[in-house]
Structures are given as structure tokens and as C-alpha cells.
Amino acid sequence: MSKIIGIDLGTTNSCVCVLEGIDARGKPEIVVIPNSEGARTTPSVVAFTDSGDRLVGQVAKRQATTNPTRTISAVKRLMGQKIDAPEVVEYKKVATYDIVPDHKKDAWVSVQAGLKMSPPEVSSFILVAMKEIAETYLGEPVTEAIITVPAYFDDAQRQATKDAGKIAGLEVKRIINEPTAAALAYGLDSKGGTIVVYDLGGGTFDVSVLEIAGGVFNVKATGGDTHLGGEDFDRLVIDKFAEEFKATHNIDLREDRMSLQRLREAAERAKHELSSSLETDINVPFIATGPKGPVHLERSLKRSELDILVRPLIARTIVACKNTLKDAGVDIKKVDEVVLVGGMTRMPAVQEAVRNFFERAPAKTVNPDEVVAYGAALQGAALGGEIDEVLLLDVTPLSIGVETGGGVFTKLIPRNTTIPTQKSEIFTTSVDNQSFVPIHVLQGEREMAADNRSLASFELTGIPPAPRGVPKIQVTFSINAEGLLSIEAVDQGTHRSHSVTVTPASGLSQQQVDDLVAQGDKFKEADQMRRSLAELRNQAETLIYTTEEALNAYGDLLDPTRAAEVQEDIQALRGMLASGASIDAIRDAHAQLENAAYEIAEAMYGGVEG
């Protein structure tokens, strides 16, 4: 059976992990799988080019400037969202690509005139890339995965993520919460207690309060700031340097792309270095040209200076922590563990602020960029039966209920309820002789129905005339093991009933998903072609190397004209590799050289025996 991989499908970067084995002491060994460029995380960026190519990851990011309207980043912000959702409206202001409604008012992405794509489809391209990274490493096909999502994702957003997996050719064994995955990575499932997960990433800040008891994770509350992350920290440093530079040289470095790029790199480097040292030098020679010739940026930066600079940003995260604890109804003294997630938590000032606020040292032994995918891979291994770990139970992420008199939201199934589950309640009419009752099903935690997300609405008709409060309507909610919600309303007087099965109000239909899966297969051919070309090139290079070695050592065993021919074959193949020849041409040249290599080997061994 193939392995179940763990994927952290992030807003800015994604990461994939897998269980490699069990060490001598019986502890699971999880590895972070590097991509083809050797990086342990891959940018969550997808681009569509004029030539019809689809680029994913670092390559897509590198060409973003030349192709801004068709380079899709941060698509996670659109997953399972309506076009008028506040998050989408906010993101639309800064996105370089067009966000358009589909016929159901879902937020889709316009990738070229007349072609829109759903966010799950765009995400599926990232998942395909992550899947291939894992397959290359494992040397076997991967078909199953665990994917993580933020704890605040609702059913539609989770369903969208599942659809993305399906389109990518992955069976999503489970969708788990990012903070839960981080807690799993630290083995906190066996300890239990109240855990706070502080996740400060590249562009978002999330804080979650979890309660673990008997291996069951309860999300007590989530909070944070969807527009606060490492990029904001960098910007502060860049602005400070640029302002200083402007004051002395009267040149704004932010106006020239190259100067800004070099300044940004220097700022990032300084930020990283100050995580381990107390002072660092920033030297950017020839950063600009002034009236009197070249000018340089030269300055040192102390950790304390940086700390003062970013203090307001860190303070914002602490306020969010305070509010989230309050929402969860948890006293700060009751917090048993604090887990750090996200690259920005390497900054000593961030760790210090967290330590001071929670009055305890946070857990940070697992690489914070990888801890979520790490936990997902652990859960994958547990589901696959490879290790003996706590299996997470599927729970409803948000409460489900109906709208009742005065627009109030009445919860029927509270959040974190383990599924499958069923719950029923009796409702009645609110005016005399009411002949039908509208049933509006919603999901969310807010008191008023209007503030929550609508899942479905229908009417139960044919209620015989009666004074208000007399008819008894039994409404039953059931969620099956797959997370599918169905609702039945029965008038207990007439036994008339009406039932619906809720598919998330936004999202793709089964047919759409199936079509996309079929389309994906087409792309797969092209991708496979590209990959086999890369493999062939690799083999060819090795063959050139080994044949040259053999020729040098044993060439005198060959007939001199034959040796010259082999030398020519080598040059021909090398020329093809350099000029980017077609796969067939390279394959032929490779085969020819391979024969020559065999000949040398035969001559070699013939020589040894004779």
C-alpha cells in the first residue's frame, strides 16, 4: 500500500511531509520532502502563460512581474467563498488578477479573457506539484493525502479543499485543522490539556485555543489577523532604511525596482541574522547612482533597534491572543502548552512576547515552517496503520442550526460535535393560521442568523390552520460519516414532511469535479512528458560522464577509429542536451552511446579474462 502524505496547503507557501520509517526507539521519523530545486517549501503560486503552459511554485513566482493578471497567488483566500464575502472584497483590492463571480456568485479567478477557473481547480495544481514532489522522493505513486486547513474554515471551504485534492488525483483521507496538526507534531495528543497555537506566517496571523482530552481535539476559539505577517515586518525595515537613505542622499530607493529588490534582500537577511546575533551589518554597495556618482547603503542594525521597530506589530498579535482566550473562556493560567508555528516565530522578540504573555516557554523544537505538514504526515501514517497514534475523529468545524423568530440563530448541532450525529428539535408557528414554515439552515457561531453563513432554505407547506404555537414541527438534522448534512422537517399533525440534503451553497458540483479530474489527466500527459525528458537528460549526463571515464581508462582496448566514433557520439549527445533537442532525438543518441558504453565494458572484461 502506498504512503499517505501530509500536505500543508498554505496561503503563501506549501509543504509536504511523509513518514519515512520508525527509528530504533520506535519513534516515527517524518521527513520534509524538498522540491526539485532543493527547497523545503514551495510557493503557493500558479501561473498560466501565453504558450499555454501551467507553471507552479518558484517558477511561477519568478515570472509574476511579466504576467501579473495570470499569476495566481494566495488563492487560499478565495477557497469556498462567495464573491461578496468580506475576505474576498478585501483581497480583491490588492490582487493582481481578476476575481469574478460564477453563476452561483462564488468567487472565481479569471485566468484569461473568457476563461474563469474555480479556486479548487487552481489549488489542485499546487497539490499536483506537492504530490509529484513526494512521488519523486518515494519512487512510487502517491494517491492518498491529509490536507490541513485553518481551524476557522467552514464546511464550504473544507469541501473546496477536498475538491482540490480530488481534482489533483488525491484521495483526501482527512482534512485536519492546522493548529491540530501542529499539536500532533509535538505529541500533545497523548498529554491532553489546553493548548494555544500561535501561528505567525508570511501573510497571516492565526491563534487557536485547543482542548485535548482522550485524544479528541476541541477547537475552543480561533482569532488572529488575516493581514499581518512576516511581509509586514520586512516592510517596516525597508521603509526605515529607505527613509534614512532619502534623508542623506535625497534618493528614494523604493522607486527603482533593482534598488528596492536589493534593499528587500538586505532587510530580510538582516532580520534572519538578528534571530541569532545581537548586531548585523548591512552593506549594499552601488545601490543607486546620485549626481556625484555611485552611492552605497552602509549601516549596522542592532537587535534592540529591530525590536523597537516591530513592537507595534507584535503587540497586535498579543491583543489577538488575549481576545481569543476570552472567546474560549479560558484563563491564561489554565494554558498547558503554547506551540509556535510560522517562520516569523523564529524572531526572539516574538518568542519573548509570547513567553511574557502566557508566562511559559513556548514549544519550538520542530521547525515552525514545517510543523503543520509534519503533524499531517503523522496523522497520515496513523490512518495508514503504519504507526500507533491517536486517530483524529472528524468533527463539525462550526455550529449548525436554523433561523427562528426575530432572525435569531438557534444552534442544533454545536461545533466540535463528532460525526456522524443526529439531533432533532420541535419548532412551531409564530402567527395564527400559518400554512407553511420556512426553514433556513445556517452555519456559524454568531447570535443572529444574518451574521452566519446560509447553507440551505426550504419550506414545509400544507400545515392546517391553527393558532400560533400549536402546530408541532419536528426538525431533524443528521450528518453522516462523510460530513454530508441532511435535514428533515415533519409536521407531527399531518405527518407531511420535507427533506433536503445540503451541498455547500458555494462550491463545485460532483459533475464539475469529475470533469476537472478528466481534464487533469490531459495535463498529466504533458507533465509526464516533461518529467521523462528531465529524467532522460539526467541519465544522458551520467552516461556521458561514465563513458568518458571509461574511455579515458580503457580507450586503448578499443580500435582507435571506434574510440573516435564514441568520442563523437559523446559530443553529439552533449550538443543535444545543450541545445534542448526533442525527447526522441536525445533518446536515440542516448541509446547509441549506451551501446558504445557496452562495447567498452565488453572490451574491458574481455581484456581481463584474456
Binding site: 501565453d50 519568478r62 515570472q63 512581474t65 529588490q261 552601488f286 556618482g293 555611485p294
Partner: protein, 209 residues
């Protein structure tokens, strides 16, 4: 080299033969035991050869497995060592390349104005040029190539676009200028070239393509 594997493979068959016969004999021995109800210890003493053969077969099997494991381990380690070596070298180069970039920037700036005309400066600049050339030579000896860019079609697998410029001078989609050179070691990208990519000026776009 080629003779060795065939040699050891004949070993495999012979050892498994002994292994089989040894276990067969042992089974018979067991049957005898239950029939005759003789004390186990004496029975083993009765046929020390069978026991020894059995042990030998087991040890041989274990030894061969360990040898195979070790061989695989050695291969993997060799690969890992060479990967680590390359990675370490790449990292070192990535850290050093900016120094070289700045040396090149210095010479570019020097040739811009009339700085070179000042007395004594010419010789100094020539010297800096030589240092830059020395570095380039050292890189090519290491097998590190500079990525070609200006005039070439933009390729995000080796180029990173930092600007999109309207110009008629270059074909749209081709590289109009390089702002920082990129380097690669064969197929492995050390650092992409930072480039400015040409796009058709407004109005001209219809003629192209």
C-alpha cells in the same frame, strides 16, 4: 568486477541448498523425538553436525543480508555525501556571488563617467577588471556557467523578472536587460538572473504575433 557478482550468486544457491537440507533433517529429527520420547538434550547431542550445519546456514543468511544492507547503505551514503558536498558548495557560492556582483558594479560605474580619465585611476580600474576576470575564470573551472539573458526569450526556470518594459528594441517576451547575472552548475540552478523583460509598446502589440 564483473566476475564477483556471478561468484557470489552461486554462493547464494549453494547456501540455500544447505539451508533446506538442514531444516529437512531437523524436521525428521523432531519426528523421531516425539515418537521415541527421548530427552531433547541428548537428541541434539546425537547429531551435532545437523545443528552446526543449520547454524551455519542461518549465519550465512544473516551475514548476506547484512552485507546487502551495508552495500545499500554505502551507496546511499555516497550519494548523500555528494549531495551534501554540492549543497554546501552551492551555499558558499551563493554567499560569495554578491561580492562579485558588486565588483562588477564597480567597474560598470567607473566606465560611466570620466572617472577613468583621472591620473592613476586607469591602472587601478584595469586591475579591478582583472580581478573580476580572475573570478569568472575560477567559476568556469568549477563548472559554473553564467546564464545567458539579454536578447534571449524569458525563461522563468532560469530568469527572474523584476520589470516589464515597453520597448520596440527587443521582441516581446525577450530579455531587454540584465540587472544581476544568474549562474548555474549544469542543470542545477545556483541563482536565477534578474532581468527586465520586453513587452510591445501600446499600439505596436497588434503587429507582433
Amino acid at each position: 568486477m564483473n566476475t564477483e557478482p556471478s561468484h557470489s550468486s552461486s554462493d547464494v544457491t549453494s547456501s540455500s541448498e544447505t539451508g533446506e537440507s538442514a531444516t529437512e533433517r531437523n524436521a525428521q529429527l523432531g519426528d523421531d523425538l516425539s515418537d521415541g520420547a527421548v530427552d531433547g538434550d541428548t537428541a541434539v547431542d546425537l547429531d551435532p553436525l545437523a545443528q552446526a550445519l543449520n547454524d551455519a546456514a542461518q549465519f550465512k543468511d544473516k551475514w548476506m543480508r547484512t552485507a546487502a544492507d551495508f552495500d545499500n547503505y554505502r551507496k546511499r551514503t555516497r550519494r548523500e555525501v555528494s549531495d551534501a558536498e554540492k549543497k554546501g558548495r552551492d551555499q558558499l557560492l551563493r554567499d560569495l556571488l554578491p561580492v562579485f556582483d558588486n565588483l562588477e558594479r564597480a567597474t560598470v560605474h567607473a566606465n560611466l563617467g570620466d572617472v577613468a580619465e583621472a591620473p592613476g585611476v586607469k591602472g587601478l580600474l584595469d586591475g579591478i577588471d582583472l580581478v573580476a576576470r580572475q573570478f569568472r575564470d575560477a567559476l568556469s573551472r568549477l563548472g559554473i556557467e553564467r546564464i545567458e539573458s539579454v536578447g534571449r526569450p524569458f525563461d522563468p526556470s532560469i530568469h527572474e523578472a523584476i520589470q516589464h518594459l515597453e520597448t520596440a528594441e527587443f521582441e516581446p517576451g525577450c530579455i531587454a536587460a540584465e540587472v544581476q547575472p544568474g549562474y548555474r552548475d549544469g542543470e542545477r540552478l545556483l541563482r536565477p538572473a534578474l532581468v527586465v523583460v520586453a513587452k510591445a509598446p501600446p499600439g505596436a502589440s497588434t503587429q507582433v504575433n
